[in-house]
């Protein structure tokens, strides 16, 4: 057993680190450091930079742009990217629909979509959840009626992240109304420009507009846009969700946020000294750092095991739960660090006021919205309660 990276891995880490330092545009890096919202352009710009380097989809097969890195190198890459801190490549494309198309899609689908996903020529969104189907995803009701060479899709998706930017949506639909729950589900790729699709934004408690309702009214989708077999969609969805959960620990992101927290705590003053010298506050940060180190070691163990197993580990639920708890704990400490300056509402969305100086320290503005917004990480991707159910069933056999 050896915790240290090999010389080869260290050289790789340094290479990635140098790339992140040199290639990440400063304005994007600043937004990431400060926990500000990114624009569509930021994410597109960055992913294209990564893709130009051949690093947008490292985990894909080499034939489709993957790097062939070992799990350890993939881990190192992701860790360095998050610590930079750089935006993750758009997960709906590279982590969700991309791997599904690779594993179950047709050759035509691969050729058509994979290069455009890697280069973020197409923005994808995830049309799984519905008003009546959240944790109980398999109860979804959106229908796809076969009509010649097309499906006619009717229904509603909700909580669809960045549907307002999307060129494509991948959807779970019910093509066979007779089949029972999980069995009747199919996986469709739908062009967002198709007539009959309406996107309506949902504002979240932090004031952002990242999620949407998406309505389908007699939307015609060519049968060739179905992934894999009809009625096998649930299997593909499970495959996808397994992949979704592994990326969700966000250890590098938490490290970057803790660095930011310490920076801010050194600037904030509590009484006659910097907040970072306040014993109580320092202790609270250290306690989170312990949790994070433990999680990092757990992640490394999963990475090491994946070398032999080659499939998602049910222990990824542990990563999801702990990762989200840690991210939320850090968001609370960031909020506490700014003390009363949690109060002013950010006005940067407000066209008349964008150039006014911020109220209080310039680092404070995004942190209350970040705290509010980050409540989502224990809800989406399978809520933490659902993750615990998975642990109880799949790991413990209860």
């Amino acid at each position: 057993m050896d915790l240290r990276f090999t010389p080869d891995e260290i050289a790789f880490r340094d290479e990635v680190r140098a790339f992140m330092r040199d290639a990440l545009p400063a304005p994007i890096r600043r937004k990431m450091v400060e926990a500000r919202r990114l624009e569509k352009d930021d994410i597109v710009t960055w992913q294209r930079i990564l893709n130009a380097r051949g690093w947008a989809v490292p985990h894909w097969p080499v034939a489709w742009g993957g790097t062939g890195w070992s799990p350890v190198k993939q881990y190192i890459f992701h860790e360095e990217l998050q610590q930079a801190p750089a935006p993750d490549p758009l997960p709906f494309g590279v982590n969700m629909v991309g791997p599904v198309i690779i594993a179950f899609g047709s050759e035509a689908q691969k050729r058509r979509h994979l290069p455009r996903i890697a280069n973020l020529d197409d923005w994808w969104c995830q049309g799984f959840s519905e008003p009546g189907a959240g944790s109980d995803l398999a109860s979804l009701k959106t229908t796809a009626r076969r009509d010649g060479d097309s499906y006619v899709v009717n229904g509603q998706k909700t909580w669809t992240t960045t549907a307002q930017y999307a060129d494509w949506i991948f959807c779970l639909v019910r093509a066979d109304p007779a089949a029972k729950k999980q069995q009747g589900i199919s996986f469709l790729l739908i062009d967002m420009k198709t007539p009959g699709i309406t996107v309506r934004p949902i504002q979240t408690i932090d004031g952002g507009r990242e999620v949407n309702e998406v309505f389908f009214d007699d939307v015609r989708v060519p049968v060739e846009n179905r992934v894999g077999e009809e009625n096998r969609g649930w299997d593909y969805a499970k495959f996808l969700l397994g992949n979704e959960r592994t990326g969700i620990a966000r250890i590098g992101t938490s490290k970057a946020r803790i660095r930011r927290l310490k920076e801010i705590a050194a600037l904030e003053r509590a009484g006659d000294k910097p907040l970072i010298e306040d014993e109580r506050f320092r202790t609270k940060i250290a306690a989170v750092e312990v949790e994070l180190k433990a999680l990092e070691m757990t992640q490394l163990r999963v990475v090491a095991a994946a070398r032999e197993r080659n499939e998602p580990d049910p222990a990824s639920s542990i990563l999801k739960i702990k990762g989200s708890e840690i991210q939320q704990a850090v968001s609370e400490l960031l909020l506490e660090a700014i003390g009363p300056y949690a109060l002013p509402e950010e006005t940067h969305d407000d066209a008349d006021r964008w150039n006014e100086p911020p109220i209080g320290p310039e680092w404070a503005g995004p942190l209350a919205p970040h705290y509010f917004n980050w409540r989502k990480v224990s809800i989406y991707g399978g809520s933490n309660e659902i993750q615990k159910n998975i642990i109880a069933k799949a790991i413990l056999g209860l």
Partner: protein
């Protein structure tokens, strides 16, 4: 000991709750937020008619002579409704400072106007560097002829944007964080040398940054003895905390009810999600947190007029710790148990969450008061050596 409400208090509770139920639904709140002041002047007049704006004041000043329990009752109702109006700023803070600190001439000139709803006040005290330290005041008051000249910058002045008059703390003597040397000055909000920048806070309420540059106040517009204002500031801040504790309890109680309702109605896997034991336990834990908070809000109301300032401070600090912790737990779990719904601006529960978050950051958060309580020796004295 008696922890029950009197008939009159019960009547007060019912009438405030009814008024808010009739006039302050969630849609009305959205509408009021869009008004120029960010809250409803019409509703403010209704508060006046109901006697709420004269609640803590003497009858001879147009008040109703209520005490901390009455304030608690009203604030709890405001918490439930997510009220937006400047009651804390005008009646609790401004009114509290005047009631306790002003001479009779000023009291009889100003307090009746508060009670009638025609005078709005704000307490311009916190400064950029002060964080939660009430004594940390860099704004200066320089004697000049018969009066004073004020210079400095005040921050996070709750409802300072709509106030007619500001009560400004400023330093007459001493170093920046000394408790001695502070004065409180009453100044027209649009007086020469006073500039304000109003803004919304994350909970949908309003605040202002206030800059004083050579602002003049007359000698009669100082509260109490010049240089000796700290005990008054500390007392009124504690009254504000007691009031906020009650407001937080109202918000938490409503949050909890909404969540339990949601657990009963939202179905997943063919059953109400409230049938999952893990969520039942979570709702039970939320109730425990709520009841602990309610108890401490009650404790705060009963201790806020305790004559021994150290005893009072310990009690209020303890209450603020409990409120902060319970508020965070109840708020976060309410969002979690609502799933995606909890994250939406259109749905009320997120707004409660934001209000209790804001309350924690007002007049010192849970950590701040926990440290202070520890410094003051906690609540239980060590056994005395005989």
């Amino acid at each position: 000991m008696d922890l029950s409400l009197t008939d009159e208090q019960r009547l007060l509770k019912e009438s405030v709750e009814r008024l808010l139920m009739d006039r302050f639904g969630f849609e009305a709140r959205q509408r009021f937020m869009a008004e120029p002041a960010g809250w409803s002047r019409a509703l403010w007049q209704s508060y006046a008619e109901l006697g709420l704006l004269g609640l803590p004041f003497e009858e001879k000043h147009g008040g109703v002579g209520g005490g901390p329990v009455e304030t608690m009752i009203v604030m709890e109702a405001f918490g439930r409704a997510l009220a937006l109006e400047p009651f804390l700023a005008t009646v609790v803070l401004g009114g509290g400072l005047l009631r306790r600190g002003a001479d009779e001439a000023m009291r009889s000139a100003l307090i009746p106007k508060i009670a009638r709803g025609v005078l709005l006040l704000a307490f311009a005290h916190a400064e950029r560097q002060s964080r939660y330290d009430l004594a940390d005041v860099a704004t200066t008051a320089r004697r000049d002829g018969g009066g004073y000249v004020l210079d400095g910058a005040k921050t996070l002045v709750i409802h300072g944007d709509c106030a007619d008059k500001l009560i400004v703390s400023a330093r007459l003597a001493g170093a920046r964080r000394d408790r001695d040397g502070l004065g409180l000055f009453v100044i027209d909000a649009d007086a020469a040398g006073v500039s304000r920048r109003g803004y919304r806070t994350v909970d949908g309420l309003r605040a202002a940054e206030v800059v004083l540059s050579g602002a003049r106040v007359g000698a009669s517009e100082i509260l109490g003895e010049p240089g000796k204002a700290f005990p008054l500031i500390a007392q009124v801040a504690d009254e504000a905390i007691a009031a906020l504790a009650a407001e937080a309890v109202g918000a938490m109680a409503a949050t909890h009810e909404m969540t339990v309702d949601y657990l009963k109605t939202r179905k997943q896997f063919g059953v109400p999600i409230g049938s999952f034991q893990v969520l039942q336990h979570r709702a039970a834990e939320m109730l425990i947190a709520l009841e602990q908070a309610r108890s401490m809000a009650l404790f705060a109301a009963m201790m806020v007029e305790e004559p021994d300032p150290t005893e009072r401070r310990r009690a209020i600090a303890a209450a603020k710790v409990q409120i902060g912790r319970s508020g965070r737990f109840v708020g976060q779990q309410a969002i979690q148990l609502h799933g995606g719904m909890g994250m939406t601006m259109e749905y009320k529960v997120g707004h409660y969450f934001k209000r209790v978050t804001a309350i924690d950051a007002l007049f010192g958060d849970a950590d701040h008061h926990l440290a202070e309580l520890a410094r003051l020796g906690g609540l239980i004295g060590a056994r005395e050596a005989k």
